[in-house]
Symmetry: C2
Subunit: 356 residues, 2 copies
């Protein structure tokens, strides 16, 4: 891909902690069911996976929010569970129940059979989508590629779907840590290959979603989640070739110092941490991404604007008075019943209130 | 009630940070569906609320786990939502869906109508249960009374039941903080009266469950949850009359220093905080209660024993080498499919591994 910087490079500059004219903003799950045009595309595609596995449709829904809002980055439309699906577990969706696997990992034999998928054969639809989106974006804003974290993928692979208390995956980690590490090793190798394939196809930044790291105790988090986040950050290419890496984790607030030392360029945080405290604790080692409570989008536009202002100012206060190194985002993904008008109010507030 | 200390006073001594022969242990939701005798009593009672509102049956299920395990405290069998029920909201339960209110708080008028219930009339069944349990316990171990926290009660009162994202209660707090404070003020007055009525009826310690404080951003936590926890801790009687107060909160790990300064004697923590870190951060100001991940009970007894040992040692390391001031507990409540045999292994491990 071309190394020409995008016309709007605020997001990439913020990840390098360089000065920006305004704080860049994108929103987790910015392409989604809250947009009527998304619902129309999905209805035409017939299913979520049918849409995600079709590069043209994935491109279309990736671009939809950018046509409405002056967002500073696009994120590939895909699912965090594509890697275990490509490992043969059989991803499917039940309406209203979230993702499930037809063949969850249950035995030592299941673990022994796991292998890194062939990116060109098994995940070609993803890299094709990245190439298609880059072409259509025409370098207007950068494109973010992503993956689930090894621990988060392991949760779904072992539970077979979502879980209230993660009893199966935690019991495996407690009863048979060696088996758990064997699984996490192959999954993290697959994640590394997957992220690098997205980079080679044109993704200009990469994000790892550690959605379920925060359900662990500190000692288990360090052993079963953080260790593999660090492995990923260390294994991805360095230097001019490198796409900046953001480690997002729900409930990662206790581990910001350690995440800032992994080698990643950015750390994404949820709304239960103060941005100012997070900036002080990470001391300029990484950019910070976040962290408005997504539920703020249900409040009135004046309240949204006030909370955006608070978050921007809190970050700056913790960052020596500077807005550098901050990517504005929600602390978690958007929900289908949120209002596009409120999203517009949020994006405008970020740009207006952060303008120098 | 008699001021004679219970025969087993480890729990009360630990809350005063006095030396104990073994670390005391009790388990949140120790009376519950994982016990066949509980299921039998509940089947005979016909419903959860029928059981909770009958002092003899509430006493029976309170005592059941103590007949099986050498637990160091009993906790009143009741529900965290008795106070809003007594305020006229109409608590009911739908099998598999958790608690709901027939008349949730929706308008300013609904808030204006809220009043502190008459403890003798509207919550007499609770104080009767406390008296009955104290009589049947015959001072073997102390009895803990409890309430939901004002914020947690407000969540259910406004959402009308459980919630995935607490959008209604958070939107009210963001759009109309004055209305939210008006509600929280009357609810906290009710909680104070309720806890003190339990103390007068014989409860020897009190716990506030702030189950949902951790879903808030730090600024909202301090404004809408912590402020009212402190109000409760400050309002309850002091000195010889006082029953020690434990503030438990899921997701309260970022606020331990502030919770230790509320005036409460104990802080209960979930499993996402290290006990050693918690002890260092609170510096002996309070006792700490917790914090094994309840899911550990699904692991094998050897793994349970290892994790109990880790937690005990972690606490002692953060507490200057001493086990004083630690009440062993889970980091959250038990689940119906847990094994009584594994509970026995946990309780035995706490007592054996902490013995001097």
């Amino acid at each position: 891909m071309t190394a020409t910087p995008p016309k709007n490079d605020r997001f990439l500059r913020a990840l390098r902690r360089e000065p920006v004219d305004r704080t860049p903003v994108w929103l987790m799950r910015q392409a989604g069911r809250y947009l009527p045009e998304y619902r129309a595309t999905r209805a035409a595609a017939g299913s979520f996976l049918g849409m995600a596995k079709n590069p043209e449709l994935a491109c279309e829904v990736t671009l939809q929010p950018l046509r409405r809002f002056p967002l500073d980055a696009a994120i590939l439309f895909s699912d965090i569970l594509t890697v275990p699906d490509a490992m043969g577990l059989g991803l499917y969706f039940v309406e209203g129940e979230g993702p499930k696997f037809e063949r969850p990992v249950r035995t030592h034999e299941d673990i022994a059979k796991l292998a890194v998928p062939d990116m060109d054969r098994d995940l070609r639809y993803v890299t094709d989508a990245v190439r298609t989106i880059r072409r259509e974006l025409d370098n207007a804003v950068p494109l973010i590629g992503f993956s689930g974290s090894p621990w988060t993928l392991a949760c779904y692979m072992i539970e077979g779907g979502g879980s209230e208390n993660f009893s199966k995956v935690k019991a495996l980690a407690l009863n048979d840590p060696a088996a758990m590490h064997k699984l996490l090793d192959v999954v993290s190798d697959a994640v590394i290959a997957y992220l690098d394939a997205q980079r080679q196809a044109g993704a200009q930044a990469l994000q790892v979603f550690d959605t379920w790291g925060g359900v662990l105790s500190p000692s288990m988090y360090r052993e079963f989640s953080l260790r593999y986040l660090k492995k990923i950050a260390q294994a991805l290419p360095r230097g001019a070739e490198k796409a900046p890496l953001i480690l997002f984790g729900k409930g990662n607030g206790a581990y910001l110092e350690e995440l800032a030392d992994t080698g990643a360029e950015g750390v994404g945080i949820d709304w239960t941490v103060g941005l100012g405290d997070a900036a002080r604790r990470t001391g300029g080692k990484v950019a910070l991404q976040g962290n408005l409570d997504p539920v703020t989008l249900y409040a009135q536009p004046e309240a949204i604007r006030r909370e955006v202002g608070r978050a921007l100012d809190d970050y700056a206060q913790g960052n020596g008075g500077s807005r550098e190194g901050h990517v504005f985002n929600l602390g978690h993904g958007m929900s289908p019943d949120m209002s596009p008008d409120h999203v517009a109010a949020l994006v405008a507030a970020v740009h207006e209130l952060s303008a120098r």
